[in-house]
Symmetry: C2
DNA sequence: CTACGAGTTCAAGTCGACTTTAAGTCAAAG
DNA sequence: CTTTGACTTAAAGTCGACTTGAACTCGTAG
């Protein structure tokens, strides 16, 4: 696969629409690429960048967060303190998210075991738990 | 805490706005409650239901999925086969999501270690991996 | 020369999940 | 009585993340 990819090539590899790629450029997730006859030509590195963007989105980050987190500082200059704090928070957030997914999984499994009141019982647990959590503002 | 909760009580306990609760009723996530002088009065069970809804949302389920998954069959009748399959898929989906969060966490940690090209390298790995995955349509 | 396929821009449209606004009802307090 | 505060409805608005549509420009193939 050569460099100088057309926008449709990039789209195909990543499973995106070309409109999404233009949109990313517009909001500063992708840098404006070189042009040939007015058309965008990309180098391979954009594919790696987009792959990270996709995964970060699947991890629940917004495009604004992604821009900040991954492209918010000049490479070759070490991540500044502000970024370090941000990522530290995000790492903790991911940890919490994972715990919650695990709980959700457990609930679904319980429901499968035909514990038909699992829903209500689980709701009770969640409720008492979240009233505790609400005191030390944990997420967002 | 008595039964016969006003909509504002429910909202306060769950940390929602009243408008969200009315919206849930409208789209069938909550059953229409009894009314007193035209006003909605809820029993405690609605709190448990909403707690589950919130967690499911945080786990990445849409409201449509939540309605199907959790309120899509009459309680007391054991979950039908169709539901069982659906939840089986959702459980697998959660597993995949968790794996991805873990990967994301690893990436962030690598970037913290000032491996400033971690981003590009990680992108490469993700890309080669996802071209494999695309063959056995894994999610959605 | 013209027709095509792929690209371009800019503005407007869509979707999910709500929120906001406007106008109205009701019971209890002053 | 009138005011207050909490509720009601229906319709319109918002936000993020794109998509769609209309009108246009290219280079190449016939």
């Amino acid at each position: 696969m050569a460099d100088n990819l057309a926008i449709s090539d990039v789209a195909r590899v990543l499973g995106l629409r070309t409109s999404a790629i233009r949109y990313y450029e517009q909001i500063g997730i992708l840098p404006p690429p070189v042009r040939r006859n007015g058309q965008r030509r990309y180098e391979k590195s954009v594919l790696f960048r987009l792959a990270v963007v996709q995964r970060a989105q699947q991890s629940g980050f917004t495009l604004d967060e992604i821009r900040e987190l991954f492209f918010g500082f000049r490479r070759a200059t070490r991540p500044p303190k502000r970024w370090h704090e941000l990522s530290e928070r995000k790492i903790a957030e991911l940890q919490l998210r994972m715990k919650r997914l695990k709980l959700m999984q457990t609930l679904l499994k319980q429901m499968q075991g035909c514990r038909c009141n699992a829903l209500e019982e689980c709701g009770k647990k969640l409720l008492s738990r979240s009233s505790k959590e609400r005191n030390h503002a944990y997420l967002r």
